[in-house]
Amino acid sequence: MPAAPTKPLVALFVTCLVDAYRPSVGFASLRLLERVGVRTRVPRAQTCCGQPAFNNGDDDGARAIARQVIEAFRDVDRVVVPSGSCGGMLKLHYPELFDGDPLWAPRARAFAAKVVELGAFLLEQGLEVDAEYRGVAAYHDSCSSLRELGVREQPRQLLAGVRGLEVRDLTDAEVCCGFGGTFCVKYGDISTRLVSDKAADVLATGADTLLAGDLGCLLNIAGRLQRQGSEVRVFHYAELLAGLDPEQPAIGEPSP
């Protein structure tokens, strides 16, 4: 007789930026996954999704990293990613990288099918948001979230459950913030112009907080806002959903 369906086994793809820069996003993700009642795992053999190699034309390097990731995440039901950009790499570009490879193409496709962005997954699992944050937040959509993963409404719907929070859209929500991975250092002047426009858009909403689902964008826009002396507080949206630790500084803020 079949047992009651077991909870899905969900692995967290931490991402290199969360790992190095802001682990609190990773731990917030784990708290949220627990809240929706899935079994979680964090495979140790993960470092990076390989996007820096892929975007700079090193397909072999990207494939080597991808094989490592696919192997490490083999025995799970879903792979949850707190990043549109890494999520896009895993979900769309891994199958492309192995197109035509009789062994790895099916593995990559099977893996890609499991990949889901954090907010999309939490909404799908019916997360009941129990958090509070008094403030007005501008929400920035990363290009990968919008165009590679179709993530736009999901984080907004979840954030609607945060008590005290008002979320405002940016006027030019479709426009890139200028991060673009290595682009932001290789073409720093152009990147600075793009992020200045984005920062102006954020300030024009009157928000005191900025939220997004991608650390690259967040570091970029926070860096520009802070260079301009703005006091807008910048967080990954997962941090608000999971309940902010009052001791936790916002991105770029000094620790108390």
């Binding site: 290199c16 790992d19 190095a20 820069y21 802001r22 682990p23 731990f27 784990l30 708290r31 627990e34 140790r44 053999a45 470092t47 990076c48 390989g50 190699a53 892929f54 975007n55 700079n56 034309g57 090193d58 397909d59 390097g61 080597a64 990293i65 490592q68 492309e96 290009c143 990968s144 165009r147 479709e174 426009v175 890139c176 200028g178 991060f179 673009g180 991975g181 682009f183 932001c184 250092v185 290789k186 073409y187 720093g188 002047d189 152009i190 990147s191 600075t192 112009r193 793009l194 570091l219 970029n220 926070a222 860096g223 520009r224 802070q226 260079r227 500084p249 770029g252 803020e253 000094p254």
Partner: protein, 473 residues
């Protein structure tokens, strides 16, 4: 900035100069909002627009898969109608053919309708070099001809110019004009007045073609000004230069392309003049050219057909990708230093001029993908740009320092043990550099970032370090 020196190799410097130009910034801002909003409204008015994009893509795929038979049919029909078809393998061949045709026609003055293929082969320089007087009749092209500049946009060549700059050019070059016209209607009327005489006195008219229609030997010209039609009809000889990839089987195919072209380019359902030409003047026509020639241009297109960049041949030169590109709308077309700027130019230029010459262009892109969302024929531009980066990497054209850094990153990423140790160390060092401030305003090796931004600092202990020590929430 000296314009004659523009090359793709100097993109970064040219871009910096563009960013520092407040007049250009204003002009580009105007263009960006204009084009984007107009396209959005036009598309919203057509519920089946996405289906039209699919059909346009598939029609182009279908046509490219039969390119040879379509071109042969086109040639046969043009010839049967009394026209002549010439085949140019290279830019030089195209120029030589056209110069010969003009010489044999005993021409002195040539009226040109806008042609990007003509820009591509540097046709004006060849014609002027051979002693012909060449007058651009499209207002935007006329303006940049007076300014001796290349076009900065593929459908709005003078988008970077303000009315004051245009008034100054007219004042400089129009002999019987002795005031600065400040109002736009006056500027346009002045151009109309001057160029009217040119159409009527030109011996040869040269235009491009937006489409070639195989089953009737026709070509389609899409304009708003009427200059293309006048250049095609008034002079006694009409020469068309068109890329071989422009051919479609029949009018129904052309109709679908036209439906997505004008909306994507200018936000119009159709332009003021969409004209379908089939050969020279007929025996009983009262007007029209006596002789009609088509120069079919290869210039790397047949090579692209057999390559992983074949999809680029679908391009219908609408300019939507430029208008929606954050990089193009920040730096303008001249920064690219090439005939075709923006996303489509960043794919075409390396393919036509080589990666050594144009390898920077595919890198000057954030891969944000907005271009692909607006391309009427669904060209996967970010994928093509990435493939060019792969080629550059494979051929070691991407710079030794970049390759070393990238190789180091890949090496490290493949070894989680080493990665943990070094990243743990790295974030501690960065944290220490900030001395508790949470961010730094300067960092060695990161000047590209810190020039305009502070750099937020890491929390100080990596996720995996904490996870390994038992933290789970």
């Amino acid at each position: 900035m000296s314009l004659p020196g523009l090359t793709p190799r100097k993109f970064k410097i040219q871009a910096q100069a563009a960013l520092a130009d407040p007049v250009l910034r204003g002009a580009l801002g105007r263009a960006r909002s204009g084009f984007v909003d107009k396209r959005a409204r036009a598309v919203a008015a057509v519920p089946e627009f996405e289906a039209l994009r699919d059909e346009a893509r598939d029609l182009k795929r279908h046509a490219l898969a039969r390119l040879d038979s379509l071109l042969e049919r086109y040639e046969a029909e043009v010839t049967a109608a009394g026209g002549h078809v010439h085949w140019a393998e290279t830019a030089e061949d195209a120029c030589r053919l056209i110069v010969d045709l003009c010489a044999r026609a005993g021409a002195r003055k040539i009226a040109k309708g806008k042609s990007m293929a003509g820009e591509e082969v540097a046709l004006n320089a060849a014609l002027e070099g051979a002693g012909f007087e060449v007058i651009e009749t499209d207002l935007g092209e006329y303006i940049i001809q007076l300014a001796d500049e290349p076009p900065s946009h593929i459908i709005a060549p003078a988008v970077h110019k303000t009315r004051e700059q245009i008034a100054h050019l007219f004042r400089q070059h129009h002999a019987d004009l002795d005031e600065d016209l400040t109002e736009i209607p006056d500027l346009v009327n002045e151009a109309r007045r001057v160029l009217r005489q040119q159409f009527l006195s030109a011996d040869v008219g040269i235009t491009g073609a937006n489409l070639l229609i195989a089953d009737t030997g026709s070509h389609v010209l899409v304009t708003n000004e009427g200059n293309g039609d006048l250049s095609s009809t008034c002079p006694r000889v009409h020469i068309v230069i068109a890329g071989i990839e422009k051919v479609v089987p029949d009018f129904a195919a052309a109709a679908t392309v036209l439906r997505v072209l004008a909306r994507s380019a200018t936000g119009q359902a159709i332009t003021s003049y969409t004209s379908v030409f089939s050969g020279p003047r007929r025996a009983d026509d009262l007007d029209g050219p006596e002789a009609f020639h088509v120069v079919l241009l290869d210039n790397g297109r047949s090579d692209m057909l057999g390559s992983e960049f074949r999809e680029m041949l679908r391009c219908i030169r609408c300019g939507a990708c430029l208008n929606h590109c954050p990089v193009y709308t920040a730096v303008g077309g001249h920064a690219y230093g090439a005939v075709y700027p923006g996303p489509m130019g960043s794919v075409l230029t390396p393919l036509q001029w080589g990666l050594r010459e144009a390898g920077d262009l595919p890198n000057a892109c954030t891969l944000n993908g907005r271009c692909a969302t607006v391309c009427p024929v669904r060209i996967p531009l970010p994928d093509l740009l990435r493939r060019l980066r792969s080629r550059a990497h494979r051929d070691a054209l991407d710079g030794a320092r970049n390759r070393r850094l990238l190789a180091a990153w890949v090496w490290l990423a493949r070894r989680p043990g080493w990665y943990r140790r070094l990243s743990g160390l790295g974030v501690r060092v960065l944290r220490w550099l900030g001395r508790g401030k949470g961010r730094v305003s300067r960092l060695p090796l990161a000047a590209g970032w810190t020039g305009g931004r502070d750099l937020p600092l890491p929390e100080g202990r990596t996720f995996f370090e904490q996870y390994r020590k038992g933290r789970r929430a």
